[in-house]
Amino acid sequence: MKKRSDGLLRSAAAAPHVVWSVLFIVAPLIFVCYYAFTDASGHFTFSNITGLGNYAGTFALSVCFAFIATILCLLVAYPLAYCICKLSPRSQKILIMLAMLPMWMNLLIRTYSMMAILDNEGFLNKALEAIGLSKVRILGTPGAVIFGMVYNFFPYMLLPIYSVMSKLDSRLIEAAEDLGCNGRQVIMKVILPLSIPGIVSGITMVFVPSISTFYISQKLGGGTFDLIGDAIERQFQRPDTYNVGAAISLVMMLLILVSIAVMNRFTDEADGNGAGGGIIV
């Protein structure tokens, strides 16, 4: 009797979560699948999917931009995380808070302010002129879009790497030195392999939003670049192209799922016991 009431209580407690998941996670997914495989009049069709060949360039460009942005984030975040870990606990806290500070502001607002800085008549070019250099066209270049991605998603790379690295046992580093590692070898043979879980989390958390972003490319790319996010947004602006938009979304989701699966395979190998402590995505 007691057991049954326990079970009831437990399901009652879980109910809000289940309802939430069904309403806002499962149902939208079903809608995406439904629209992806039907035409405007609601008949089953594969034509949305087969027609995606037109978007091959868009997909390629998005993957390319997201890939470059992710690599840049990693290249900057990893050494930064390493340096932060070497500081006093107090300085570490302050620096990590500074890194997170931009996240307190809306992404869109940050992107707009970035426009104001990078614009042809913007802050940066005025400053360049003031010191006697010529103006540089930045907005509308691939560099601006990638910079926007790096700027916006950088904390998602820094934090997981930092959190894994700061938990690294300092005696392991001493043990490596003791066994004959110089400074570079300590990093390559101990710190890097042990921080792979953080790197993998960071890559996933930057790559996924980068590949699906639309406003960054619209605002900083000046409409020159058509990324997947832009394509999806455009299709959903008009009621009659929902189906194509859903098909693109579905393929993108699959793309992301595959890349996460590949990345996770990588961490499993590096960290057989899940003892790394990285954020699991």
């Binding site: 005696r171 392991l172 001493e174 043990a175 066994l179 043979k189 016991n273």
Partner: protein, 373 residues
């Protein structure tokens, strides 16, 4: 052990955050020696070890290796390896790769690595463990991997920082014997840090007793036990009764209101001294033949002996004896001259060696691990 000096510490001092942890340490360590730094926590023994390993640099003084000053030599260039407290094995590498770590850095040929790792695994009794993950090993096994990982590099010196601290009693005893065997077999100088006096006495060629950042005494285990230089050493190593006395003249000391013959000399006439007598060195005799008499206040059966507390002129003495006596009985005791150790007065005088507040129950409680209280 031979007499060639391998490591010399010359007036080494170190402080952390204004707290002086080492006060002018002088220490010679010889080739093939098994030397133990022994002391309570906070005495500076681990800092001394870390200075030798190169992980901490001394504020003052010199570290000399084989005649050369090595103060500024980084750890990876020193021919010294360490077995860390709680092992510090690399969790991302298996047993084989952990042990091979040092050899790989030296670009040793693969074939040699394989045979040497195999040899090490045999020496630490872990044959066939090559492919195991270090995370799935027991404490004792991890300990062995850590020892193998250090010894495979054939260091001149092996530093061991409380390596058996996390093991249970049975395993500790076994490992003590094994460590001693490995040290003899390899001829490597072992510098061992522990707070466990029994461990220090049973394994070492030389024991260095430390307290409050200073070396109190250096000597063989027998010398440290039988001829402690001050109240701290006498109390820290084994049980001891320490009383204040006066050195009347050579070979004659007075304490507890009596004159005793002893074997010590070289003190000033009537110099105040500390006298230490080990509980097992006191004989119970009929009152008529006794040097001192007192009333038994407690008797504890310890298996192969009784531990008796006797009140002699308000000073509580501990005696270990096989004779059975009753609580409340008046007994006489006798102490042979060679059982009396006379020590100079020191900063530790009067702090140790009186059993008036001693209680087995209390001692037992304080030894219990947290969760069992």
């Amino acid at each position: 052990m031979n007499n060639e000096k391998l490591i010399e510490l010359r007036s080494v001092s170190k402080s952390f955050d204004c707290e002086q942890v080492l006060r002018s340490i002088d220490l010679d360590i010889h080739k093939e020696e098994f030397i133990t730094l022994l002391g309570p926590s906070g005495c500076g023994k681990t800092t001394t070890l870390r200075i030798i390993g190169g992980f901490v640099s001394p504020d003052e003084g010199d570290v000399i290796f084989d005649g050369k000053r090595i103060n500024d030599m980084p750890p990876h260039k020193r021919p010294i390896n360490t077995v860390f407290q709680r092992y510090a094995l690399f969790p991302h590498l298996n047993v084989f790769e952990n042990i091979a770590f040092g050899l790989r850095l030296k670009k040793t040929p693969e074939k040699e690595i394989r045979s040497r790792v195999k040899e090490m695994l045999k020496m630490v009794n872990l044959k066939g463990f090559e492919r195991r993950s270090v995370n799935n090993l027991s404490g004792g096994q991890q300990q062995r991997v850590a020892i193998a990982r250090a010894l495979i590099n054939k260091p001149e010196i092996l530093l061991l920082d409380e390596p058996l601290g996390a093991l249970d009693l049975k395993l500790r005893k076994d490992m003590q014997v094994e460590l001693k065997r490995m040290q003899r077999q390899t001829g490597i100088t072992f510098i061992y840090v522990t707070h466990d006096q029994e461990e220090a006495l049973s394994m070492s060629d030389t024991v260095v007793v430390m307290a409050e950042g200073r070396i109190q005494q250096i000597g063989t285990p027998e010398k440290i036990y039988n001829e402690p230089v001050n109240a701290f050493v006498a109390d820290f190593i084994g049980e001891s009764n320490i009383v204040s006395g006066i050195m009347l003249e050579d070979y004659m000391v007075s304490f507890a209101g009596q004159k005793f013959k002893c074997e010590d000399k070289g003190f000033e006439k009537n110099e105040p001294v500390d006298v230490v007598v080990r509980p097992e060195d006191i004989d119970i005799v009929p009152v008529s033949e006794s040097m001192l008499t007192g009333k038994v206040t407690s008797v504890t059966f310890k298996g192969d002996y009784y531990e008796i507390i006797v009140d002699i002129d308000n000073f509580k003495w501990m005696i270990e004896t096989t004779d059975r006596v009753a609580v409340g009985a008046t007994i006489g005791i006798s102490i042979d001259p060679y059982e009396i150790q006379v020590m100079k007065k020191s900063e530790f005088s009067g702090k140790y060696g009186d059993y008036s507040s001693f209680s087995d129950e209390l001692e037992h409680l304080s030894e219990l691990p947290e969760e069992e209280k």
